[in-house]
């Protein structure tokens, strides 16, 4: 445990449901009850219409590779270069930053728009990160 670890998120009251979700093996998004807008990152109101009536729901966990870099240097603590930093476009619409696992970290293997599915990686007993892997089938 002496090795430098990757940056660990610290939930806030507005984001706690998201991190509770990843710990439970669910990718949770929010939908506006008034205008049906689905958005990310979490907040207790709709950034499209300002309604405070919003609901948390379990997303499909499916998406596609929107864009990425393969970082060589400098590497973040806890990462061994080269590693891809990806932005995933979820089937529900929002995009989120993540990493692509079970896949070579090369331009040849990482094809834009390739289908992805969420995979959960526990950092400790409180925080589980949503990562993505190439979708099966």
């Amino acid at each position: 445990m002496a090795e430098p670890a990757r940056a660990k998120p610290k939930p806030t009251p507005e984001t706690q449901h998201f991190w509770d979700g990843t710990k439970a093996g669910e990718l949770r998004l929010q939908r506006c009850d008034a205008c049906a807008n689905i958005y990310f990152p979490p907040r207790p109101f709709c950034p499209s219409c300002a309604s405070r009536k919003v609901s948390v729901f379990k997303a499909s966990g499916k998406g596609k590779l929107y864009s990425y870099v393969i970082n060589h240097r400098p590497a973040a603590p806890g990462f061994t270069p080269p590693y891809a930093i990806a932005v995933v476009e979820l089937d529900e619409g929002p995009r989120m930053m993540s990493n692509i696992i079970d896949c070579p970290q090369t331009p040849e293997a990482l094809e834009l728009d390739m289908p992805l599915e969420v995979a959960f990686e526990a950092l400790d007993d409180k925080i589980t990160l949503p990562l993505f892997r190439p979708a099966k089938g």
């Binding site: 940056a7 610290k10 930093i85 995009r95």
Partner: protein, 379 residues
């Protein structure tokens, strides 16, 4: 804002640029400020408006020994100084102050008296970007570029040409950090930083600073230098999280700020003689050309690769060598403004003959913010 009511009457960079191990960050601010004061033929006691970024206005006002009646501490990254110019012009027009000093400096290379940047783990960036290995601008700023390339049909060679052309401009500039000619092959064989970008497509890391002095156009004619008038301005912000940009094939902040400035200036793209687009990384001039409306994004890569922005080309772009070859202390916007002012004064090392209108477009953060200033030397 009304056109040509406010002018730049003082402009200067730090005495040295590059590696300045004998000055702290606040002293670099002061060095630039004193040079700009001398350039304008003023005393520090003439300054009644003050703006700066990263360092606070109170820090720098105290260090310089000035007592402003108007301050602006807008700090939205490298284009903060474009926003300062816009806000200062409005403040001068509104009568809140008469003579504004804007300073930038950064000990970007030597890191003397510079506070380290820190991403709090409970911020949105700390929760939703930092855990995935972003680590400084090279790992973040290029994240949209593969999508941009795919959507608009831009090639790696075209993105390499951005660096090649800017080095051609830098070769004409004695103060440029990097002056030796480079080829597309040199760029594509340089060390990989964050695919698809290699070393020569990433900005320099240097020490330096710059300062501007603005006053009303009516007073400007009494100053020693040729006045450079503020013809149009625009600004906007989008998001501090690059992953949350509305789209990667365009920058919303660019698309708001740029056209706002053109509309205010009452000019068309054909009227532009000289253009600066903040180039922290090689894709930014392409985003700028497209989002400011010079051409569709699909044509931006070819436009640069065909030589239209090089010395002698029809749209001289980043004529100081840019952040890729001139200097980049971390917040490059001030140096783009300095080059626009030099071009409008007619004293740039790579002067564009008879240039009358200069567009200066800046970015802050990773497409997080944007500011556009349009200058002219004719009232």
């Amino acid at each position: 804002m009304r056109r040509n009511q406010v002018a730049v009457v003082g402009a200067a960079e730090t005495t040295e640029l590059g590696v300045i191990p004998n000055m702290s960050q606040i002293q670099l601010h002061a060095d630039a400020a004193l040079n700009a004061i001398a350039d304008a033929g003023l005393k520090l006691s003439d300054i009644d408006g003050f703006a700066t970024a990263v360092e606070t206005p109170q820090q720098m006002a105290h260090y310089l020994g000035i007592t402003p009646t108007w301050v602006d501490g807008t700090s939205v990254g490298g284009c903060s100084f474009m926003l300062h110019v816009r806000h200062a012009a409005a403040a001068i027009e509104a009568g809140l102050c008469k003579t504004v000093l804007i300073t930038h400096a950064e000990s970007g290379k030597s890191m003397i008296g510079k506070q380290p940047r820190f991403t709090a783990p409970d911020s949105l960036n700390g929760q939703f970007e930092a855990p995935f290995g972003v680590y400084g601008p090279p790992s973040m700023f290029p994240i949209p570029v593969l999508r941009y390339m795919k959507t608009h049909g831009i090639t790696h060679e075209q993105l390499a040409m951005v660096a090649v052309v800017q080095r051609e401009w830098a070769a004409k500039n004695p103060r440029a950090t990097m002056k030796d000619p480079i080829t597309v092959a040199d760029v594509l064989n340089s060390r990989m930083i964050a695919y698809p970008f290699r070393l020569l497509q990433c900005c320099l890391v240097t020490d330096g600073g710059g300062a501007l002095i603005l006053t009303s156009a009516d007073r400007a004619k009494d100053f020693p230098r040729k006045p450079v008038y503020i013809l149009g301005t625009g600004e906007s912000v989008e998001t501090p999280m690059v992953s949350q940009m509305k789209t990667f094939d365009s920058s919303r902040a660019f698309k708001v700020a740029g056209p706002l400035a053109f509309k205010e200036a009452g000019i068309t793209h054909k009227d532009v003689d000289h253009l600066m687009i903040y180039d922290a990384f090689a894709h930014l001039p392409l985003y700028g050309l497209g989002d400011l409306g010079f051409m569709p994004h699909e044509e931006t890569g070819k436009f640069i690769a065909d030589g239209n922005t090089r010395p002698g080309g029809k749209l001289p772009l980043n004529t100081n060598g840019g952040g890729l070859s001139y200097m980049h202390s971390g917040m490059y916007g001030m140096y783009a403004l300095q080059e626009s002012v030099r071009q409008m004064r007619g004293i740039a090392p790579a002067q564009v003959p008879n240039a009358k209108i200069s567009v200066c477009h800046g970015v802050g953060g990773m497409f997080a913010a944007s500011g556009t200033i349009i200058f002219t030397n004719e009232r």
